[in-house]
């Protein structure tokens, strides 16, 4: 089943001659349980695409389907975006972006609550932290966690609401190569074991073997990329 399908989405910044097309008629589908990489140079429109798929910044044109349901049509949201964030989407960012005044466990608990988890919120949070092997840091505040630990907690938080789609925008940019690869492998595990579709924006070509598929963006257009061609860049 397709976790997400984007049809003909476009996004333009500015007007007239100075207008910049960040997305040009982009079509994309990601299956549930797969982990897909989104490659491309800076300014190619990767983050804009992630924002559009996450309904953080709606496209000017085009449709977006989540789990087969039309949620954006002609650039207009057809659903309660906040509810969608709570229940179907998970975000992981370049920085972990944990809520600074919540402990690692509370960050995950908060996401569980938002996602509608009613029973044993703490149990679910602990389970995710164990799954991501960071449960020993459950009571630590974000500032006391290492970059890798923060990122693992962020992934745990992104999974807390049992999302159908996880959007990760350069999640390994702040990590060394060893930890970066570990995070990518974690995404693969998440996709395969939890059944979520994971779309990862990355510049790191060394870990492309982890992904089930790769797309490449350039000047706002999207095309499939082979691991070999991408890796050779």
């Amino acid at each position: 089943m397709e976790a997400v399908r984007a049809v003909g989405i476009s996004k333009r910044f500015g007007d007239g001659d100075g207008a910049v097309f960040a997305l040009r008629d982009v079509n994309l589908a990601v299956e549930s349980g797969s982990v897909v990489a989104l490659l491309g140079p800076s300014g190619s429109g990767k983050s804009t695409l992630v924002k559009a798929l996450g309904l953080v910044q709606l496209p000017d044109e085009g449709d977006i389907h989540l789990q087969g349901r039309l949620v954006v049509s002609g650039g207009e949201a057809l659903v309660d975006v906040g509810r969608l964030w709570r229940t179907q989407l998970g975000f992981v960012f370049q920085k972990a972006n944990l809520v600074s005044f919540l402990t690692a466990r509370e960050n995950v608990e908060a996401a569980c609550e938002m996602g509608g988890e009613r029973d044993d919120v703490r149990g679910r949070a602990d389970e995710l932290l164990r799954y991501l092997e960071v449960d020993h840091r459950a009571n630590a505040y974000p500032e006391a966690l290492s970059g890798g630990e923060q990122q693992r907690v962020a992934i745990a938080r992104a999974l807390a609401n049992r999302p159908s789609l996880v959007l990760a925008d350069e999640p390994t940019a702040a990590l060394d190569s060893r930890r970066g690869r570990a995070v990518m492998e974690l995404f693969r595990r998440v996709a395969h074991e939890q059944g979520a579709a994971v779309l990862v924006v990355t510049h790191d070509h060394r870990a492309l073997d982890v992904f089930d598929g790769c797309f490449e963006m350039e000047d706002g257009t999207l095309r499939p990329a082979t691991r070999t061609s991408s890796a050779s860049r």
Partner: protein, 404 residues
């Protein structure tokens, strides 16, 4: 999960310090109201304490507190003879300042109509009322004078036999209760030199009259310190207090006095209003304006504190939004912190008030109305002050989280 409490827990030291600062500010605002309430209570306690139905004062004046009033002592007997009157008492009120142990001692002397009024109705907290018409005084405990100590007025000793609580003038000075004759003696006291000068002037005036020239022996009498001319009037009193018999119509009795040409009549409430409007009005407005300015200052400070607290959380709020946190939960995050801040600040103000206000030079009265109105006002104030923070929280763009 309560996000407001979680956030405050992370910065509890700073939060408590901020709340303590606001508490001090609130304590000042509350003290302003308390000082005003104390001033009103001080100003009216004397009128309440005597328990008169009607006050007879000098015609054309609004005495005895608002201005000097001179009523002939005969008014007391005349008033007592009016049908429906059960009791009439003379009343004097004089302010004086003396030195005691090198410090100024400000007092208001109130004369009690001995033997009818011995001070039994006074708010005594220790000792007793007067049991003799001369040489005894009941003072307010705020003077710090103990029972048995002696005060010297008009070169004569007065022993303190009783202590009252909160028997003060509108100016906050303590009141001393003593017999009417003693209060008049003290009020009309003159230095020996002045008495001698007056006697010489009396003799000189006598010599210019036919009586003086016909009766030279009168000069000896005039110079004799033990002699007092029987024709000279008794010193006037400040007011005559009238109580109407139970079942009698006060208005009917009042109409009788209103026909008298030498007195003006005021009811107990009118006398109270005269004191408040005449003596306390400006101070009331002054304190009111201070209170408004301080309240606005507190509101601005609370608003800035809350706004800054929210501003510091901008990124966290953006993250929370991207997690799908409903807007109402973010609003409550700011509001609950505002209310908690207000609650702690009010608690600090309350403790400061209970601890420090009793040591203020002017009485600070925390009325029950003030004690329930203050937290409600703090609630309203903090709610209004949180508007900026709430608006900011709602305007935070979740997409900024994705901007690295």
């Amino acid at each position: 999960m309560n996000l407001a409490v979680r956030d405050l827990r992370r910065h509890v030291g700073r939060f408590m310090a901020t709340a303590a600062g606001l508490g001090l500010l609130l304590a000042v605002v509350i003290s302003m109201q308390g000082i005003y309430a104390g001033m009103v209570d001080d100003a009216t306690i004397l009128t309440r304490a005597v328990g008169a139905d009607l006050w007879l004062v000098q015609r054309g004046t609004r005495g005895p507190f608002a201005e000097a009033s001179r009523v002939d002592p005969s008014v007391e007997d005349r008033a007592a003879a009016v049908p429906g009157v059960v009791r009439a008492r003379s009343y004097t009120f004089n302010a004086l300042q003396r030195d005691r142990n090198g410090a100024p001692l400000r007092l208001a002397l109130v004369g009690l109509a001995w033997p009818d009024d011995r001070g039994d109705g006074l708010p005594l907290i220790a000792g007793r009322g007067l049991v003799q018409p001369h040489g005894e005084v009941v003072v307010d405990a705020s003077l710090g004078i103990a029972i048995g100590e002696t005060l010297v007025f008009a070169r004569e000793p007065y022993r303190v036999v009783g202590l009252t609580r909160n028997a003060l003038t509108s100016g906050g000075d303590a009141v001393a209760f003593l017999s009417l004759s003693d209060s008049q003696l003290i009020a009309n006291d003159l230095p020996p030199e002045a008495v001698q000068t007056e006697r010489v002037r009396f003799v000189e005036r006598l010599r210019t009259t036919d009586l003086g020239r016909a009766q030279p022996a009168l000069e000896d009498l005039a110079l004799d310190p033990r002699w007092r001319a029987p024709a000279l009037p008794m010193p006037p009193v400040g007011a005559v207090l009238v109580n109407v018999a139970a079942g009698q119509d006060v208005a009917t009795v009042r109409r009788v006095f209103e026909r008298w040409g030498d007195v003006a009549v005021f009811s107990q409430d009118e006398e109270r209003d005269l004191v408040l409007q005449g003596l306390v009005q400006r101070a009331r407005m002054q304190l009111g304006m201070f209170s408004v300015i301080l309240t606005l200052t507190a509101a601005v400070i609370i608003a800035m504190v809350l706004y800054n607290m929210t501003l510091e959380k901008t990124h966290d709020i953006a993250v929370l939004k991207l997690m799908g946190t409903p807007a109402r939960r973010l609003v409550f995050l700011v509001l609950q912190q505002a209310w908690l801040l207000g609650a702690v600040a009010y608690g600090v103000a309350f403790v400061i008030g209970r601890t420090l206000y009793p040591h203020f030079p002017r009485r600070v009265v925390l009325t029950p109305e003030l004690l329930w109105a203050a937290p409600v006002a703090v609630l309203v104030l903090t709610t209004l002050a949180s508007v900026l923070g709430v608006v900011h929280a709602l305007r935070v763009d979740a997409s900024r989280v994705l901007e690295g």
